[in-house]
């Protein structure tokens, strides 16, 4: 029997799968969009999209839901990449939703959960029908359950108990007006695969993924940086540390890890030896409960 593909090298197989997914979406949807924050997974996503359509330009727009609590280095990087490739970026500023009363600032100051409404509003306003996310199944066990093509109802909700079967590499992107499909080309990549590929392709990332000096303070076991989202409270002191970020998200809940990994090779060695998952090490939002991610996803989070 023949399955049975000659490509058995792990990175080649993952790259080919992602490119196949991009092309399927380009062929079947009217208005796809790539969620692009400038972080490593979305930078990788864009790199693969460029390969999928080369030498033609990427036939998708980009969308960033900006919490206003992002690291300035990352926003700078985001804008540089967009300009370099001549892409169109839509930004949904969470601040605008807060200013006009559609959203309310949370007492704890974190804006991560506030991204869902601006995301859904933008999808509706721009009539996006396919939304690419950089989510990977190895990030979290609720994500491990998600399909590569994940249908969302008109409220953007994920219904994990009613997912479509996903057979072979035949993706079913049919949806009704108002519904959309979230597409995850990196589903089968692990954090190490991402770094090995970044190394192989020599992909540029924001500098905060590599070791640097930063003023940080310790809260709930995580090193947080001072910023527009707040700073140390009573009893918390700012210290200068050599750190790097394993994930990059809302500054209020993304922690740095102490690290001297200054190059891609150093990072690979560090990730391979790490005893903590990237989210466990750096994301306060996932520590809240056993089903924090599942609950956010059900509400339409990416």
């Amino acid at each position: 029997m023949a399955e049975t593909l000659a490509v058995t090298d792990n990175l080649d197989a993952l790259e080919s799968e992602a490119i196949h997914i991009f092309r399927e979406v380009a062929g079947e949807f009217d208005r796809p969009v790539i969620l692009f924050s400038g972080g490593k997974d979305s930078t990788l996503l864009l790199h693969l999209a460029i390969k999928a359509f080369w030498p033609a330009p990427v036939p998708f727009a980009l969308l960033h839901v900006d919490t206003g609590h992002n690291f300035p280095e990352v926003i700078e990087f985001r804008d540089k990449v967009v300009a370099q490739h001549g892409l169109r970026l839509e930004v949904a500023n969470v601040q605008e939703w807060i200013d006009d009363g559609r959203l309310q600032e949370r007492p704890d100051g974190t804006r991560n959960p506030l991204q869902t409404v601006p995301l859904l509003d933008s999808i509706t306003a721009h009539k996006f029908d396919a939304v690419f996310g950089g989510g990977r199944r190895d990030e979290e066990r609720a994500r491990a359950k998600e399909r590569i093509f994940s249908l969302r109802n008109s409220f953007g909700q994920w219904e994990p108990r009613r997912q479509r079967p996903e057979l072979w590499n035949l993706y079913n992107g049919r949806h009704r007006p108002g519904e959309h499909v979230r597409v995850f080309p990196l589903s089968n990549w692990t954090e190490l695969d991402v770094w090995h590929y970044i190394e192989r392709e020599n992909i540029e990332l924001p500098q905060i993924y590599y070791a640097h000096q930063r003023e940080v303070y310790l809260r709930d076991g995580m090193w947080l940086a001072e910023g527009p989202w707040g700073g140390p409270r009573d009893g918390e002191t700012l210290l200068s540390k050599t750190v790097r970020y394993r994930t990059v998200g809302d500054g209020s809940c993304t922690g740095a890890v102490e690290s001297t990994a200054a190059t891609i090779a150093d990072v690979i060695a560090e990730v391979a030896a790490s005893r903590l998952t990237e989210r466990g090490a750096t994301r306060a939002d996932d520590r809240m409960s056993e089903a924090a991610m599942e609950d956010r996803k059900r509400e339409g989070y990416f």
């Binding site: 049975t4 062929g27 030498p55 330009p57 066990r141 466990g280």
Partner: protein, 442 residues
């Protein structure tokens, strides 16, 4: 980088699939400290004295509440010898569609049985699904061996019964391995058990690390569904016109004669652009862009194939479906068929047989096929489709059946009859003409 093996678990509800996957991850040290802490905490909250490793994979709230798996979990781990993509599928009949999802891309199926119960109805159903989908390698894990006091005769009896059953499904002996395991305790999963001195075969992990990963036969004819036409029309590439897709079977080289289907136009390959730049030839599984000698009319949904060995092109074909829809299928149903990169309207004109996966026989002309039924049907499509038998080419012999009304996926479709038994219908009425074909001899 290392070779990749895709595997899926299968077997009846509660036979220990998720625990086994958890055990594999745990004993290969693939579970990181924070994840493990969470499992320890959750297990303690449930009043358990040892960690429940199934919590590593049962990632949905309702799964943890009910202690069952509802949907496939994909997990990844690597040893120095191989990388693994593991799909842990549900055992419950109600969620068979998710089992089919996990198995459709697997190269190896780990089928579990509970040593106390042996082979049960659901074991046979899943074995049939794995065989139908063409999963080439099988492992029967006789689990919960601790609960039968590591009894060798019990293991032998189950192993023998299952091996015979797998042979009937068409599995060669060399492709079926049986292993006595305890997922709970860890016997023979990663570490060899000293409770089973009578077993001298490999542990599960040893087998997974060394089992041959099937590659396409060298001579499989070239198949390439066109996903997208790349036409930059930029100053730098004013006349570039490339056909993008993923090679479904075989290999292609610059200079090859190809034919475009269904139109039937022939031309030559003049270039291959890959993610790594231009190359002289490319193999199955690669996503590439083909450049052709003539400006022919090719659109998404067309198939480019080796001119010397093209697939057949037809608007009527015999197929096997694994029905996954809640509403039953009846003759005359209007559906959509997604084959390669093409979606066409189609009519299911006949239901020919329904397969009984318990007795491995078929019932003729069933009224309907309902959820989880496997059966043979005749399909007529509104447009010509270039098709291969699934048994010859997993990628170009597969299709989806989609509900045109709500877009849901109704069935996994396979061209032809991948299982022998699907052909051997129990003839209910003696057909004199058929009998005449056998000459009585001189």
């Amino acid at each position: 980088m290392s070779q990749l093996l895709r595997l899926a678990t299968a077997g009846s509800v509660d036979d220990g699939k998720s625990t086994l996957v958890g055990r594999l991850l745990y004993d290969t040290k693939s579970v990181l400290a924070d994840t493990l802490d969470a499992v320890h905490r959750a297990s303690a909250d449930r009043g358990l004295s040892t960690p429940d490793l199934s919590l590593l994979v049962d990632g949905l709230r309702s799964e943890r509440e009910q202690g069952i798996t509802i949907d496939v979990a994909y997990r990844y781990f690597a040893t120095p010898r191989r990388s693994f993509v593991l799909a842990d599928t549900p055992g419950h009949v109600q969620y068979t569609r998710n089992t089919v999802t996990g198995a459709s891309t697997a190269q190896l199926g780990v089928l579990l049985v509970d040593a106390r119960n042996g082979v049960v109805e659901q074991t046979r159903r899943h074995a049939a699904v794995l065989a139908l989908l063409g999963v080439p390698q099988l492992v029967l894990a006789v689990n919960k061996i601790d609960l039968v006091d590591y009894d060798e005769p019990t293991y032998r009896r189950i192993a023998k019964e299952f091996t015979a059953h797998a042979a009937e499904l068409g599995y060669p002996e060399a492709n079926v391995v049986t292993i006595p395991v305890s997922a709970l305790v860890g016997d023979n999963v990663v570490d060899r058990s000293d409770q089973t001195p009578w077993y001298d075969g490999p542990t599960l992990l040893e087998h997974l690390e060394t089992v041959p990963v099937h590659a396409d036969a060298e001579d499989a004819p070239f198949r390439f569904p066109v996903q997208y036409v790349i036409r930059p029309r930029t100053a730098e590439f004013p006349d570039y016109r490339g056909y993008a897709g993923q090679i479904a079977a075989g290999r292609v080289s610059v200079g090859d004669e190809i034919v475009v289907l269904p139109s039937g136009i022939s031309t030559t390959v003049t270039g291959i652009d890959s993610p790594q730049g231009p190359k002289q030839s490319a193999d199955s599984g690669e996503s590439v862009t083909l450049l052709l000698a003539n400006d022919v009319d090719i659109t998404r949904g067309d198939l480019i194939a080796a001119a010397a060995a093209p697939p057949r092109v037809s608007d009527e074909f015999d197929a096997t479906v694994c029905w996954l829809g809640d509403k039953p299928l009846r003759a005359g149903a209007r559906v959509l068929v997604k084959h390669g990169a093409r979606t066409v309207q189609a009519l299911v004109t006949q239901l020919r047989t329904r397969f009984d996966e318990q007795t491995l026989s078929s019932v003729d002309e069933p009224e309907s096929l309902s959820l989880n039924d496997i059966g043979r049907v005749l399909i007529r499509s509104a447009e010509q489709l270039p098709i291969d038998d699934y048994a010859d080419s997993r990628r170009t012999g597969a299709f989806l059946v989609i509900d045109p009304a709500d877009g849901s996926t109704l069935a996994a479709g396979l061209v032809g009859a991948p299982l022998n038994q699907l052909d051997q219908t129990d003839i209910t009425e003696a057909d004199p003409a058929a009998q005449d074909l056998v000459s009585p001899g001189p």
